[in-house]
């Protein structure tokens, strides 16, 4: 296990998993901004994406040229096996903590 995922990193990875094949910069940004009610910048998001890619949780590839965006290609992101296991590890840790909680966490 390559270190723990940060909260935001986990959020980004899960968003990518939710978006499936349509996970590229703008779609991820919009999704996070809507769901988590954040005001995230493009530079901030891409920085995180690049770090995750460096850690091996993500891979990316350029798509086909589009008619929008001045003909520029999109970079699509995909979870790797270690990305998935990282998420699973995070979740099991969290589940364990929920289960063993001495305080009643239900509302």
């Amino acid at each position: 296990m390559k270190g723990f995922l940060g909260e935001f990193e986990e959020l980004v990875l899960l968003t990518i998993a939710n978006l499936g094949v349509d996970a590229y910069g703008v779609s991820i940004l919009k999704d996070i901004n809507e769901r988590a009610n954040r005001n995230l910048s493009i530079g901030g998001l891409h920085s995180t994406l690049t770090r995750l890619e460096e850690k091996g949780y993500l891979t990316s590839a350029l798509g086909e040229p589009t008619n929008e965006r001045g003909g520029r290609r999109k970079r699509y992101f995909e979870l790797t096996a270690s990305g998935i296991s990282g998420l699973v590890d995070m979740k099991s840790l969290r589940d364990e903590l929920w289960k063993n909680a001495k305080v009643n966490l239900s509302i």
Binding site: Y24, L29, S41, G43, G44, R51, R73
Partner: protein, 875 residues
Amino acid sequence: MSLHSDHKYPKWGVKLLKWWSKNAEIEDLLGDLEECYFDHISSKGKALAHLYYIRQVVSLLASYTLNKRRKDAKLKVYFTPTTISMIHNYTIVALRNFKRHKVFTTLNLVGLALGMSISLLAISVILAVFDLDEFHTKKDRIYQIGTIIKDDQGTRQYASTYNAMANYLASNYPFIESTVRVKSGFSPTVDHRGSEVPLDGYYADPSFLQVLDFPLLYGDPATALSKPNSIVLTQSAAALLFTIENPTGLLITTDQGDFQVTGVIVDPKQSHFYFQALTSFNTHTTANSSTPMEHDWQHFYRNYLFLMLKEGTSPTAMTSALQNAEKITAERNPELAISFVSVALTDLVPSWNVYHSLGLDWDLYGMLFFVGIGLLVLLPAVFNYINLSLARALKRAKEIGIRKVMGAEKFQIKMQFLVETILLSLLSLIGAVLIFMLIKDQFIDMMIGGETLNISLNVITVSSFAAFAIFIGVISGIIPAYYFAQLDPIVTLKGGSPKSGTSISMLKKSLFVFQFGLSLIFMIGVGAIVHTYSYALDYNHGFDSENILVVPLHGINKEVALQELATQPQVRSISTSSNLPGVMLPTALEVLPNATDTMSIGQVFIGSGFVENLQMELAWGTTGSEQQSSFNEEVVLVNRKFMEARRIFGDTPDSLVFKTSDGRNCKIVGILKNFNFEPLNEEIAPIVFRYSLEQSNYALLTLQPTDIRSTISDLDAIWTSIDQKVPFQSYFLKDEVEKAYQYIIIQFKIFVFLSLLAITISCLGLLGMVAFNTENRTKEIAIRKILGATNKSLYIVLSKEFLKIIIVAVMFAVPFSYFFYDKLFLPMLMKNSAGLGILEVIVGVVVLLSMGLTAIYFQTSKVANTNPANSLRTE
């Protein structure tokens, strides 16, 4: 998105990001930025979207992603695993290009080879000079003590030091293993079977041969320099004086007494010590026993001191010793600020601003001058390359366009061009080395002390040559490389000519102007030197040298010889003298103009009839040859300068009488007009002419100008009848006078060679430029012809531009050469020179113009004479 057309997308952010990211790929980021911007416009309106845009650009600029990609891209371009194969590919492309453009390649190869040859000379000389004295095994421990004197005229560093210094340091500081005193100015004239052989060398301590690694062929290094009047000769000096190989123990007779040869030394090579003979230091001290050296803190002229420290002594130990010595000198010379320095043996040359250096003075200034000349000749060749490459831009633009479309980045295009030029300059290095080998010996002979330098091709020189060639390749390739790298592939592929903005054509023009100006300056230099030389020979020195035969009178009964030689009917008159006019005259006589002062002046011993014989003019009095000198009053002649020089010392009761320092009274009976007894580059100096047959060395015979050869053989026969042991020698005074100006011939050779190089290179460049220019205008010329243009008008059209360039070059080169030659160079060459004449300038301009026009004519006639139908039909 339909909104795209409604709103203008702000481009500045894109540009900023692209600029910041350099070569990195950021297409996806820019795409995201644009998409988000238009999303915002549709939801929040233009103003907010714009604010949002600014924020996003800033966030991207600062983002980890962009900066990482930027860094990666930089690394990627420089160090891809394919770099080697790329260079391989560039090399192949370059070679193909060379093959295809043979004219271009040959022009540049020849130009660069010629241009580089002089620089190679400079490099090899500099390498050799920096390597001087490295062969001494104890070099790390040997230091020279120099003297720094500060007075109101400034600070000067001398290589020499006080006489007393050696004794003071050696007796007070035990860390000094040995001291070597060297005194220059040992210049005896050896009497060698009737002819004089001048030697030049040093007075040196016996330790000289132990501290420094000058191996003795014969003799014992420990004792060779210990006794007074012993002499160690170099191998070449020994060969000059003796026929046998080992002359140790033999005596030689000189004007400074007899010397016993105690050793033969290998000729000094790769050293700044420059001598033909060494004599023991105590030869000097015995000859001048009046001044005890151990206490002489006054004189440092020609007195050099080398120290060898004991092993393991730090050089800083000397500092305090020298500071203590400074205290002593400060006491004795309170008006001067004197300090001492120690200079390591290997750091002595090249020297910078050191006065009175011992031996060969390879000063840095001279080195830089040499390098400057080398580069000056190389520059036109570099300019040729730049010009011709840019001229070819039209042809290569398509190639660059395709390369760019295939994905070549600017850096790669630049690399391609640099590899090409480096390859070209390496190829021309081969030619340059060949030229270098050819001219090397000639040039080295012209340098003073050049024969001591070891200049050969070895690993160090060859690798420095290669480094130099690569450097030149980069220098000449960088401008074309940048030019080609910025070409727009779309424009070039569409067939439009690459934008040859005014900057490029201005650059080309100014490079051309420089080339031609330089050639002209060199050519005017050739003319100026020829002019100066003929001026010196034709100049009326104030004495007659025509038809005067000089016969050295050595080892023969002078009186008998004169009488007998005068009997030859072709000899009009005969006289004698100790020194020849037109040759340097050493100052030899001390004159006491009043009770306290002395002045050093030149003296010449003459025989009766000398003044008449050489047709010198008297300003006052008589030649005095009839008057007899009495024991206490000697009859002398002086020149006017003498009277002027004497007047400075104040009036005397009788200005025609003076005393010499050896106690003789002299009476002036005649004053000669000022004339150049010495060569023209010497100022006219005060001279005293004394009558003495004993001191005269030469007989001067004025001959009838007819049948000189048989006259000389008659004289030879007469001479032999007097004394058969001494061979008859003779030469003409005129030749001897000419010898004094030999150095101008050397300058002349150098200038002719340099200007030939510069002119050749410039003409090559011009030829190439005209060729490309006319080639590009083939169609234009065909159309002009069809429309009825005559050949004459075509020549005008084609050569107009180049003529303009040449004229501009003339306009800047002529004033410059006037200033340079008239004010700087010629006065340096000869003090009383004639200056720069108008004729040299005109000849230079005419030669340049005709060279340039011939080059233009050749090319244009080729194009102008082709059938216009042919040139229009072919694409």
